[in-house]
């Protein structure tokens, strides 16, 4: 007959990852629900997904490129440079913020049905990914407008997308689990995201950071992600600072490990606390 389930205090799930895979349908449906619901009863619908990043890009280009006169990477148009940074940043920050609020937002599910809880923050990251693909098409349009041809590095872009995803998921898992227990987290996240926008090379190129601070600066995992994106899209115009990039990957990996660990530890008590 079918499998045997043993329920015991403090017992770790035997087939944690296999269970997660088995519930992939729920992952798909939850992500689809959040996408489908988001623009219901709005007038311009999914166009919002395009307008927001576009306006931010314009603002950044005007403020940093025109008013502050910061240099772009090589000869690349400032708008493309900004957009190539904003793309991963928006992806990372919305993945992080949505994942962090996901469990509390789905309290009714958590307290009434069993499923591997990690599905919920993962679905939130999935939603952020959908937005990312829409934004990416915007970047393509921008490149056509400026008649900008990317280098061969563009083929490596998926790897950096994955990096951005994991960099957002790691802390997201941790924060969402913490958020169930301590609702203070909810108020900290918008602040973190706001801060991160300026602490990461979104509106400017990381080449303006003084050389001696560059390594330390890369402790922020998003720095590696954005630099990688720029390198892929702008090619040799934006050379990759390798030690810093590796550090960023290391930090992202550490947070992912920490996030999964903390999440799994707290997972069982979610239904009681939510």
């Amino acid at each position: 007959m079918a499998q045997e389930i043993i329920i015991e205090a403090g017992r770790a799930e035997q087939h944690y990852w296999r269970d997660l895979w088995r519930y992939r349908e729920l992952f798909r449906v939850l992500a689809w629900r959040d996408v489908a619901v988001r623009y219901k009863q709005t007038v311009i619908g999914a166009t919002w997904a395009l307008i927001r990043p576009f306006l931010t890009m314009v603002v950044f280009t005007v403020i940093f490129g025109k008013l502050a006169n910061l240099p772009s990477d090589g000869t690349a148009p400032y708008a493309i440079m900004v957009f190539a940074g904003m793309l991963p940043w928006t992806f990372f920050s919305s993945a992080l913020a949505d994942a962090s609020n996901s469990l509390v937002g789905n309290a009714n599910l958590i307290s009434k049905v069993y499923f591997p809880r990690a599905i919920v923050p993962m679905a939130a990251v999935g939603v952020a990914f959908v937005d990312f693909t829409i934004n990416f098409m915007m970047l393509v349009a921008l490149m056509i407008w400026y008649q900008f041809v990317p280098g061969w590095q563009i083929v490596l872009l998926p790897a950096f997308v994955a990096l951005a995803l994991l960099a957002g998921l790691g802390p997201g898992l941790w924060l969402t689990a913490l958020n169930v227990k301590y609702r203070d987290v909810r108020y900290v996240i918008p602040f973190l995201v706001q801060l991160g926008l300026y602490a990461s090379p979104v509106g400017y190129s990381s080449s303006i950071v003084p050389e001696q601070w560059r390594f330390l600066y890369s402790l922020n995992p998003v720095v590696g992600v954005i630099d990688g994106f720029r390198w892929c899209i702008l090619g040799s115009q934006s050379p990759l600072y390798l030690p810093g990039f590796l550090l960023s990957i290391g930090v992202a990996a550490f947070f992912l490990w920490l996030g999964i660990r903390r999440f799994r530890k707290m997972e069982k008590s979610f239904a009681d606390l939510i």
Partner: protein, 436 residues
């Protein structure tokens, strides 16, 4: 043993609950408020550092929702879990469906578990009926393939074909519940855990749900079922588990379990009552004794009441309500509409005789009222005296009566005449049912 589907060993569950002290001792001084808040903040900060859960309130208390619960369920058994609110039924179901973890003990479940603790979990008001079927199905653990295969069946069961592409926020509550139950009813796990879902919808739909449930139970699936509806429990379940304050009685067959539960639940039989506390009302009942006389279907109640007039007051009249186990009045006896007793100071003995209509077996309560006028009360004695009827008013009936059909069996007669076209002298006979 291989045919054990669920085995539960010494499961306990502890919750921490907080109490707000402020409610009990209202404070006014700002200093007290600040001191209280500071102390609370300190405690929460310490909890945070230790990684403990934050409990709102000033006092934290442990509460055992379940204590040392053990039982076994064989494959194909339908077990009803019976108990009052707060007895731990839902906690038990939540543990078995892996929503929450037990504090102590262990349980083994053989087979896929499908749980239905709420109707329409995960329904999103903005999505259409069609979309919600997929959403809810996935939430309950069905695969996309399962849902597509059952889709038409679900829609037909819910009777919402016309509104399939309307957002469910525009559904009537009845349609909403029908759709939600329809999805859940098409789950096909080996072990099904169901919590009080039949309490929703209109009677017609409840009947349909009940039918679906008993259909499910006949397919050899193991079911754990919580309900407050004794009729549903009796028709669906093979066994019963009585929970009381988190402690379980040994599993028994459903009839004994229900009997056990109702004997605990219902009032102790009390045929007499004597005032124990002081009452300042000038006119009051001092004691009441009742006796049930006669036999089915002609019972009567003989009541002896001692009533005291402390001082001169207007004469009074008496009402006696007969109430069902839920304290709803079934009928009222009123020996006289005019005030007929007392007036001058002193003790009065009142002998009342109440003829009862044919009542179904059960425990009934009596409420005694005395007052000078319809809307003026001297004294009202409630929920203290009761009597029990053991046999059915229908001679020879041994099948239990269900409260769903009321408490009174009115005398009725039936005449049957066979209609025959060819026969000039139709033979007829008269059957007289019940009691004359």
């Amino acid at each position: 043993m291989s045919d054990i589907a669920i085995s539960v060993e010494n499961i306990s569950k502890r919750y921490l609950i907080g109490h707000q002290r402020g409610r009990r001792e209202p404070y006014t001084a700002l200093r007290d408020v600040i001191e209280r808040e500071a102390r609370n903040f300190l405690r929460k900060a310490i909890d945070l550092v230790h990684g403990k859960q934050i409990v709102q309130g000033d006092e934290v208390e442990e509460f055992w929702a379940l204590k040392d619960v053990s039982f076994e369920v064989k494959e194909g058994e339908i077990v009803g879990i019976i108990g009052r609110n707060g007895a731990g039924k839902s906690t038990l179901l939540k543990i078995l469906s892996r929503i929450t973890e037990p504090t102590e003990g262990r349980a083994r479940l053989r087979g896929r578990v499908g749980s239905l603790l709420e109707v329409g979990t995960g329904f999103h008001p903005e999505l259409t009926g069609r979309e919600n079927i997929y959403l809810n199905g996935a939430v309950l653990g069905m695969t996309g393939h399962d849902i597509r295969r059952k889709f038409d069946e679900i829609v037909a069961f819910a009777e919402v074909e016309k509104f399939l592409d309307t957002p469910v926020k525009q559904y009537s509550s009845g349609m909403y519940v029908r759709l939600a139950f329809a999805v859940a009813a098409h789950l096909e796990p080996e072990i099904l855990v169901v919590d009080e879902v039949l309490a929703v919808g209109d009677t017609e739909f409840q009947r349909k749900c009940l039918g679906k449930m008993s259909q499910v139970s006949k397919t050899g699936r193991t079911v754990l079922f919580v309900s407050h509806n004794p009729m549903a429990l009796r028709t669906l379940c093979t066994h019963g588990l009585v929970l009381r304050n988190g402690v379980a009685r040994p599993k028994q067959d459903i009839i004994s379990a229900l009997a056990h539960y109702s004997s605990e639940h219902e009032l102790r039989l009390a045929r007499s009552w004597v005032r124990s506390e002081d009452r300042t009302s000038p006119v009051r009942f001092e004691s009441i004794d009742i006796r049930l006389k006669g036999q089915q279907p002609k019972f009567s109640l003989e009541c002896k009441c001692i009533i005291v007039w402390e001082e001169t007051a207007r004469p009074a009249m008496i009402d006696v309500d007969v109430v069902d186990p839920n304290f709803f009045a079934i009928m009222q006896a009123q020996p006289s509409y005019a005030a007929f007793i007392g007036g001058a100071p002193g003790s009065y003995q009142l002998d009342l005789n109440i003829e009862l209509p044919p009542l179904v077996p059960g425990v009934y309560g009596l409420n005694f009222w005395i007052g000078p006028h319809n809307n003026e009360t001297y004294d009202h004695i409630r929920n203290t005296i009761n009597f029990e009827i053991n046999e059915s008013p229908i001679p020879g009936r041994t099948v239990p009566h269900y409260p769903d059909h009321g408490y009174i069996v009115p005398n009725s007669t039936a005449k049957v005449r066979r209609m025959q076209e060819r026969d000039d002298n139709p033979c007829s006979h008269i059957a007289t049912s019940l009691v004359q």
